[in-house]
């Protein structure tokens, strides 16, 4: 807030477009003084007043309550009014400002949000009052108000909607904002319209629970989590898509959602140096994702892990016959009863071994153990964290090389949801020969593969368009020969996409663990 006599100049690289006169959008670079305290909205207003009155954007309250000035700043949706210019310029004092993605542009930074409002109205956002209201107010406990998790504070700015990967391919999806509003209504004991809000909401099964909406919400709200809460209401009513019902039943009966025999769970490890963690002390407990147990392609992740740990001298064990599905996807699907049962059972098993260290193959297991197993007394790591540390400590050394250009796809459950961005990249960069290139959407702006939140078993309403296809095309455009990831779900989705798109000759999908073993 204090003055500065040596102010620099900031460049705003703004995407301009007036469909009446311009053939296509084009960037224009405009300069303003870079003073402390100046917001991006201040800078835009200054340009409009002093340099180019035709620069067009919405604004009103200028303190983050009206939701008008949402725009895409350096790839992330935010409110221009509460974003300081100095925080968003790069080393060249440049900031890139674009209209919200996934919605039509009206002019410059003004977008057409009609699909956003249509979805909002579709869930009937109004409270439907009871026939008989009390003379005074309804009694509502402070705890009930708290249980709304501030959903009532949504300012309808559209940041989540425009960032949502499902919305990017299908405007029929209910969208995070409308899910949040539906949650607000159905959670309110005063509301008399449960069915009205929930009737037209079946597209919520399309949500991949990537939590990009949570990541980009300027008010720190949790529309992503709400998808599971709403689904749980449908689950209670038995309104579950058939294929998801099959997965849930299998998770209950077979301890895995893939309708495989529990007895075959450890078949992937035949002949490999893997201990029974319940029978003898181990350095670390390896928790293998159901997909990595049963899917031939994903099994290679687990096999690579065991090989590599053996070479590093790490005594690795599993829960043996007590290893069962972690329940992460059951929770995201909204089968809360089943999930709680699974948590209870697995917590008991996981707390048995002597070791304090558990390493997961999948970001999904990592996420659920870290955040939703309240009584787990273990240090939980995703394997990329564990392996990155072993490399840094010199316990894993590379003898070979992987002479390839590699790009890395951040799994949502690892990156966006748990902020593990650096370790996977550190591993790739330590492998001799690898040239690591980034896709345009990386780290916190990564594009979901489309496989989470039950989508592994549910085709969804998004006919024709696939996030995994878009992601693979983006990877190919970097010139990478290998699309690396660190999640059995992502591996499966992306691998299928490469095959479907017939791009096998251009790019190969690999788990980081496979590359580690290749170079060992």
């Amino acid at each position: 807030m204090s003055g500065n006599s040596h102010n620099k100049t900031a460049t705003l690289r703004i995407e301009r477009f007036n469909p009446d006169v311009d053939e296509k959008p084009a960037f224009e670079e405009l300069q303003v003084e870079l003073t402390p305290g100046k917001t991006i909205l201040d800078a835009l207003l200054e340009i409009k007043e002093e340099q180019d009155g035709s620069l067009t954007f919405r604004r009103s309250c200028r303190h983050g309550i009206c939701g008008s000035c949402t725009m895409n700043i350096n790839g992330t949706n935010m409110l221009a009014c509460e974003s300081a210019l100095i925080d968003h310029v790069n080393e060249d004092e440049l900031v890139t400002i674009r209209p919200l993605p996934s919605v039509p542009v009206i002019k410059d930074l003004v977008t057409d949000r009609s699909s956003f409002w249509e979805q909002y109205q579709r869930i009937k956002p109004w409270l439907i009052p009871a026939e008989n209201v009390p003379e005074k107010e309804f009694r509502i406990s402070p705890d009930e108000v708290n249980s709304l998790n501030n959903a009532e504070r949504c300012i309808m700015c559209g940041a989540c909607y425009s960032a949502c990967p499902v919305i990017s391919i299908d405007k029929g999806f209910v969208g995070p904002h409308a899910m949040l509003k539906a949650f607000l209504r159905v959670s309110d004991s005063r509301d008399n319209g449960h069915d009205a809000h929930m009737t037209d909401i079946e597209t919520l099964w399309d949500c991949t629970t990537c939590y990009m909406c949570v990541e980009q919400c300027p008010k720190d709200l949790e529309p992503g989590q709400v998808a599971s809460t709403l689904r749980s209401l449908l689950v209670e009513e038995g309104k579950v898509p058939r294929t998801l019902g099959v997965a849930l039943t299998s998770a209950f009966r077979n301890k895995n959602p893939f309708e495989m025999m529990h007895a075959d769970r450890l078949a992937w490890a035949d002949g490999l140096p893997l201990q029974d963690g319940l029978a003898e002390p181990v350095d670390a407990l390896y928790f293998v994702c159901c997909l990595a147990c049963y899917d031939p392609r994903a099994q290679k992740i687990a096999q690579a892990m065991v090989t590599s740990m053996d070479a590093a001298g790490v005594n690795l064990g599993t829960l043996g016959s007590e290893e069962v599905c972690c329940g992460s996807e059951m929770q995201r699907i909204g089968e809360m009863g089943l999930f709680e049962m699974m948590v209870e059972e697995l917590t008991e098993s996981l707390n048995k071994p002597q070791t304090q260290q558990i390493v997961t193959a999948s970001p999904h297991c990592f996420d659920v153990f870290s955040n939703h197993y309240p009584d787990l007394n273990l240090n939980v790591e995703h394997y990329t964290q564990h392996v990155a540390r072993l490399i840094a400590d010199g316990q894993i050394a590379f003898k070979g090389e992987v002479n390839k250009r590699v790009t890395y796809h951040d799994p949502c459950y690892l990156g966006i949801q748990n902020n593990v961005f650096d370790e996977p990249r550190a591993i790739l960069q330590s492998i001799p020969g690898i040239e690591l290139v980034e896709m345009e959407r990386n780290r916190k702006q990564s594009l979901c593969c489309g496989g989470g939140g039950g989508r592994m078993w549910f085709e969804g309403h998004t006919s024709g368009a696939h996030l995994s296809h878009e992601r693979v095309r983006e990877a190919v455009s970097t010139g990478a020969q290998i699309l690396a990831t660190a999640c059995p779900f992502c591996l499966n989705m992306l691998d299928d996409a490469v095959k479907t798109l017939g791009l096998d000759d251009q790019i190969e999908v690999k788990d980081i663990m496979e590359l580690v073993v290749e170079a060992s």
Binding site: M1, S2, G3, N18, P19, D20, V21, G37, T39, K48, E49, E50, G53, S54, T56, F57, R58, R59, S60, C61, R62, H63, G64, I65, C66, G67, S68, E82, I106, K107, V110, Q121, K124, P125, W126, L127, I128, P129, A130, V133, E135, K136, E137, F138, R139, I140, S141, P142, E144, V145, L148, E152, R153, I155, M156, L184, R185, D188, R190, D191
Partner: protein, 600 residues
């Protein structure tokens, strides 16, 4: 530009609390052909920026006995006696208004308060709660008991979302991003409006049996303001230009706690929850100005006190123009629970953690007590005698009933917009159902608006071209310096000639954007023209009022003059000349609420 006519029974301009309440009620009463026009999306309306609460004597909490005026509050146990009453709320509001509020209207406001808060609650508004589940209440300035019903510090947002959604439920049709340019009144009968569809730039005439304005306040006439960019008083200016008078325009509220230099609102609830104001010596200076109420004196008094501290060299900040708002003794838990929005705002805009350090603030233009004169049914009146403008209604901040008189109490504005919006809805429904007619339009009603726009885009002005932004800045600085918290004849005279010069300069102002599609440059120019139109009325009304009352403080007339000035200013447009002023009696119940000395 083409002029296409759209017809509705009712046109409502503005979709904040007042306009939306009116629309919902009229629709509920069976008037289905309603169009609500808003220059921004309805949910972006500035009602949503109100933070601290809505006043109603619902008696849910009381001060803990023996803890004094700033002590903790507790829920009133079932069966225990009430601490608040309609009479107390009425008296507090009258005293707050410095006896310029109409007491009959204040009684309506306060009586309706209780049921409108319960109605919001029944419609789904998420209020904060007492431990036993009733609506929570807190202290506010000028209110003698804790009566501000609140939803953390998001109260306006919650009320706006609630009422907007209920209006949608009742099938109200909103024209989002339609900017109204002109109000059509002929022979004292309102016939519709002229508006621009911002998206296409097309001008439309909207023909209606009744028009209601809920267009909000005019705080953007000042340099430092809590108000949104949208709060340019368009409705007030349009009404004035159409021959409707404006009432009590000299009464502009300066909020004591806008963020230093930025003006962004830090709710009065900061002080309601126990925050202090301190000067550069660390003194709680309010003990010199309002020893009893301290920081919870009414806003006019607190802002004046701050300004005196600043003027006498006890301000803070590099230019000494600030004051500290200190909440560090409230503790993290209370601040996170009750004041989450100001916590976030202070962090985002000042880099200040209010849990740990005081935040710099300053008095800031906030609320327009004056506006379009109406009766208690939202019916706009044409003169001091109270004759109606047929078919024209107004409510909320753009209107002047008057319930706030010379100074509004905090939490009475959400209340006013709701209560009088609702009342306007009922009277509009009655008017339509009573056989209101569609009166003929004048020929080519959109012509004037189209010509204004053409003029603003015409480049033939050459080197004489003026910048809209520069004129706007000069006007706001002038209003702040000469027509701000303290005023005198010299400054106001200078302001009057200055605003005339600026109006003349504006004749040569031109926009840079010549396109039709979503032209916010044109809109900004028209808004500035509106600011220039009614600012003149603020100044002229302030110059004429040779006394100090409420928010109007004349250095040259420091005393309240009940002998001569218990009356409302009525200003009519007089061509290009200064407004013609006349005066209207204040409704006072001389037996019950006679004027008293105003001490806190």
């Amino acid at each position: 530009m083409s002029t296409e006519t759209i017809t509705h029974d009712v046109i409502i301009v503005g979709a904040g609390l007042a306009g939306t309440w009116a629309a919902m009620i009229a629709s509920q009463e069976g008037v289905k052909d309603i169009g609500v026009l808003s220059k921004i999306h309805p949910l972006r309306s500035h009602s949503g920026a109100a933070q601290g609460g809505i006043a109603a004597a619902i008696n849910n909490v009381r001060p803990v006995a023996g803890t004094g005026p700033r002590g903790p509050l507790e829920q009133i146990p079932a069966g225990d006696s009430a601490v608040d009453s309609i009479e107390t709320h009425v008296f507090d509001t009258i005293k707050g208004s410095d006896w310029l509020g109409d007491q009959d209207a204040i009684e309506i406001l306060v009586s309706d308060a209780i049921n409108i808060v319960y109605e919001y609650e029944h419609m789904g508004c998420v209020f904060s709660r007492t431990p036993d589940g009733r609506i929570a209440q807190r202290r506010f300035g000028g209110h003698s008991v804790p009566r501000a019903c609140y939803a953390a510090d998001w109260t306006g947002h919650m009320l706006l979302q609630t009422i907007h959604e209920q209006a949608l439920r009742h099938g109200v049709h909103f024209y989002s991003e339609w900017y109204v340019l002109d109000l059509i009144i002929e022979d004292n009968i309102c016939r519709g409006v002229v508006a621009m569809d911002v998206l296409t730039g097309e001008i439309h005439t909207l023909h209606a049996k009744a028009v209601m304005f809920g267009t909000g306040g005019y705080g953007r006439a000042f340099k430092i303001s809590t108000n949104a960019h949208a709060n340019t008083g368009d409705g007030v200016a349009m009404a004035y230009n159409a021959g409707v008078p404006l009432m009590d325009m000299e009464f502009v509220q300066f909020h004591p706690t806008g963020l230093y230099r930025l003006g962004i609102l830090m709710t009065e609830a900061c002080r309601g929850e126990g925050g202090y104001l301190t000067n550069n010596k660390g003194e709680r200076f309010m003990e010199h100005y309002a020893p009893d109420k301290m920081e919870l004196a009414p806003r006019d008094l607190v802002s004046r006190s701050e300004q005196i501290e600043i003027n006498e060299g006890r301000g803070i900040g590099p230019d000494g123009q600030g004051i500290y708002l200190d909440m560090t003794h409230l503790g993290r838990e209370k601040i996170e629970e009750r004041l989450p929005q100001v916590l976030e705002i202070a962090h985002n805009f000042m880099g200040v953690d209010i849990i740990k350090v005081p935040v710099p603030i300053q008095p800031t233009a906030h609320y327009s007590m004056g506006g379009i004169p109406t009766d208690a049914h939202g019916q706009v009146i044409a003169d001091a005698e109270g004759n109606p403008v047929v078919g024209f209604y107004a409510a909320g901040e753009c209107a002047c009933v008057s319930v706030h008189g010379a100074n509004r109490l905090g939490t009475n504005s959400l209340l006013e917009a709701s209560v009088f919006g609702r009342r306007a809805g009922y009277s509009i429904a009655e008017f339509i159902k009573g056989g209101a007619e569609l009166h003929p339009l004048p020929s080519d009603p959109g012509k004037q608006s189209s010509e204004r726009i053409k003029h603003l885009m015409d480049d033939s002005v050459g080197d004489n071209r003026e910048s809209v932004a520069e004129i706007s800045k000069a006007m706001k600085a002038m209003m702040t310096n000469n027509c701000g918290i303290f005023r005198d004849a010299d400054g106001l005279q200078a302001a009057l000639s200055n605003v005339k010069q600026l109006q003349n300069r504006f004749q040569n102002a031109r926009v840079m954007d010549k396109s039709k599609r979503f032209n916010t440059d044109i809109q900004g120019a028209l808004e500035t023209e509106n600011l220039l139109a009614f600012s003149e009325v603020i100044i002229a009304s302030a110059l004429a009022r040779t006394e100090s009352r409420g928010a109007h403080s004349r250095i040259d007339y420091p005393e309240r003059d009940d002998e001569n000035w218990i009356k409302h200013t009525i200003a009519h447009k007089n061509g290009g000349e200064l407004p013609v002023l006349s005066y209207k009696d204040v409704n006072i119940n001389w037996e019950k609420y006679p004027p008293q000395e105003r001490k806190y």
